[in-house]
Symmetry: C2
Subunit: 401 residues, 2 copies
């Protein structure tokens, strides 16, 4: 039993952790339907113009704009309708002076026509069309290439594929797109006492909370959890499990829901690689270690479920988002006054959980060992290491779960 | 060709649309690992206490607290160690006056002991343990049920399952949980000219953008897209496709990327049910219809890709989130000054797309027919119907995509 001696400031731990990880280089190609909110791994250039030809932007009549110059409601211009075009039609006739073709929105503009008169500005009897309003060249026409020009880049490698970018890929006919793979995260629970939920519990046993919370946070930050199951506290099996875990891009161990100091994990990773830190001046989450083994990050999380989950939010999520090339976390933040004063021992940065009740932030933290410190909270506030007291009514920024 | 006559205010359309949909009642049971960010469909009560017994909250020695009352560093109290307990151990010996048992964090507290002295406050030679600090009853002990009390409700039906709530389910040993099903959304593209991406394009044809953007928005708002493919503009096939689509919870049609007024869809749904509105005073997205067929909502989206996608964000997403029982949209909003003045024709509420460049909001809207109006934007600002002009430098709220 070795108590932690040298705690490093949380900011340093975060910097070391995010510096250690590298954005994923592995790519995979998938249907655009599955690529929403993934990260593009290729520059995509348009091989066609969009629209691919001049098209009517309104329902109406394709005309020679010069014909309409003097048209008004009281003195309409009379044109002869040549043909009726639907959106999918190929125009067969050339529009010349004194003629027009009926078009639907999206119709390819017939040759000779250079503008569209809206149906609202016309009247028709048979093929005799009266035009009530002048249009200029290009009016109500979506010009070829006006949306996307052939050769232009519509998506760049590294860009986040929003629904609109998926739409742009569809617009140029791309059915598939190359994206960066999701970082694979091996999740390992250590501890003889840890039992998967669903089984019954004997004295001294606890359910595995951390594998489940870690996996949830991994998923919502662009990663893919790989469950390695539970491993006993002995070094041999732990080393074997860690080596297996290193097939992934990142390994996260947790000490089950009970082991506080987790020396066994630190001993194991130390025998395999370099321990970068062990012990963070943060509350909850102090007994946390980070190592590099075979160039891969191994994160040793505290066994206490709230310590582990809090660190998932503040330490693992930024690591993952950098690996996944995702934009910084977009967790919602709300401002609220503190319902009561919050007095604490300074020295460690604190992520203190709170509930929002009637617009006020009510401290919800019980203890690090209690998952309800987080499960019965709506989010957390960040308290700098040196702060001793937050006043009642003081505005705090609550990061919602 | 019938131009739209009576536009209803956007707020009315939104109210009618969200009033029409009902929260999903169908449920499904799944492993808790898959239930993160799903909505619970059952109240979950704890059938066990967590912790299930009094446990050590620190590494150290389980003691009778009265023994330690006078212990100080200069005058330590001497205790005899009875046994060494690991987290998973079952205690075999009763701790009595003058004795202690070594415990790891998580160890079940041995009978007789009522507190734990931290290892930092002790020294040991063989089984002789010196205690340097007094502890009170319950000190460094996580009492049985202190996290979750047997019989208490840890998750309520309708609650959003955050990672912490998944952790609470794990803590009480629940391996599976009942959640509400995702609303199924049938997506139908109409138009003879519409071709799926991946094929080659003939004159008069356009790629199907809308099915892809609708599906993306459906997915990220808790729905499950069901692709019905493309259907011709003729009434018979359209009716058949709509009837098929009604197997889902919601049907979204779009007129391909070209048909503006989409009378054919409105005619079809009118023959099957009630049209609640047709035409919204919104820009983009005016030619939008909502109907109720067999008690199910059928949304007729504009064919123009930006009109369709904009409506997906402002109209379809709120409908979906209500059906899926999700909290209101948590899209990120940033404040930024307008880079240039924005002058417009009042009368319709507008969702104007903007890019964020050097901290300023730069208008990005081209035209409703151009998907790049959205694909090259970062978000949109909401402009009330009556506003004619936004000033350069005026702060606007940008809802990010």
């Amino acid at each position: 039993m070795r108590p932690l001696k040298d705690l490093i400031p949380f900011e340093d731990a975060l910097r070391i952790a995010t510096d250690l990880v590298r954005p994923i280089r592995r790519t995979e190609t998938m249907p655009i339907l599955d690529a929403s909110r993934r990260v593009a791994a290729e520059d995509v250039r348009a091989m066609i113009d969009v629209p691919s030809a001049d098209r009517a932007a309104m329902d109406g009549y394709a005309v020679v704009s010069r014909d309409t110059v003097r048209a008004t409601r009281s003195r309409p211009m009379l044109l002869r309708r040549l043909e009726v075009l639907r959106a999918a039609s190929r125009p067969k006739k050339r529009v010349i002076k004194g003629t027009c073709s009926e078009v639907a929105t999206g119709s390819t503009l017939p040759p000779g026509a250079d503008a569209v008169v809206r149906v609202e500005d016309t009247d028709r009897e048979g093929d005799r069309v009266e035009v009530f309003a002048a249009v200029r060249r290009g009016h109500h026409v979506a010009a070829r290439g006006s949306d996307i020009r052939r050769g232009s880049t519509i998506v760049r490698a590294g860009e986040w594929l929003t629904p609109a970018k998926i739409g742009a890929l569809a617009a140029i006919g791309r059915g598939r797109v190359r994206t960066f793979a999701r970082p694979r995260v091996s999740i390992l629970a250590t501890g003889d006492e840890v039992v998967p939920p669903g089984r019954s519990l004997r004295l001294g046993q606890v359910y595995d909370i951390n594998s489940n919370t870690i996996a949830s946070v991994v998923r919502e930050n662009g990663g893919e959890p790989v469950h390695l199951g539970r491993v006993t506290d002995r070094l041999g099996p732990l080393l074997a499990a860690l080596r297996k875990g290193l097939a992934s891009d990142l390994v996260v161990c947790s000490g089950g829901s009970s082991v506080g100091e987790k020396d066994i994990v630190v001993d194991a990773v130390r025998s395999l690689g370099d321990v970068l830190f062990h012990g963070i001046a943060v509350k909850p989450g102090k007994p946390t270690a980070l190592a590099r083994v075979d160039g891969k990050p191994v994160l040793g999380m505290p066994g206490f479920p709230t310590s582990c989950l809090s660190n998932c939010y503040v330490l693992l999520a930024p690591m993952l988002r950098r690996m996944a090339r995702l934009p910084p976390d977009t967790r919602t933040i709300v401002e609220a006054p503190l319902a009561v004063p919050l007095i604490r021992t300074p020295g460690r940065m604190e992520f203190h959980t709170v509930r929002i009740e009637q617009g006020k932030a009510v401290p919800a933290f019980k203890e690090s060992s209690a998952i309800t410190s987080m499960a019965h909270a709506d989010g957390y506030i960040e308290i700098p290491a040196e702060v001793e007291r937050l006043e009642q009514g003081q505005k705090v920024r609550v990061v919602l779960f």
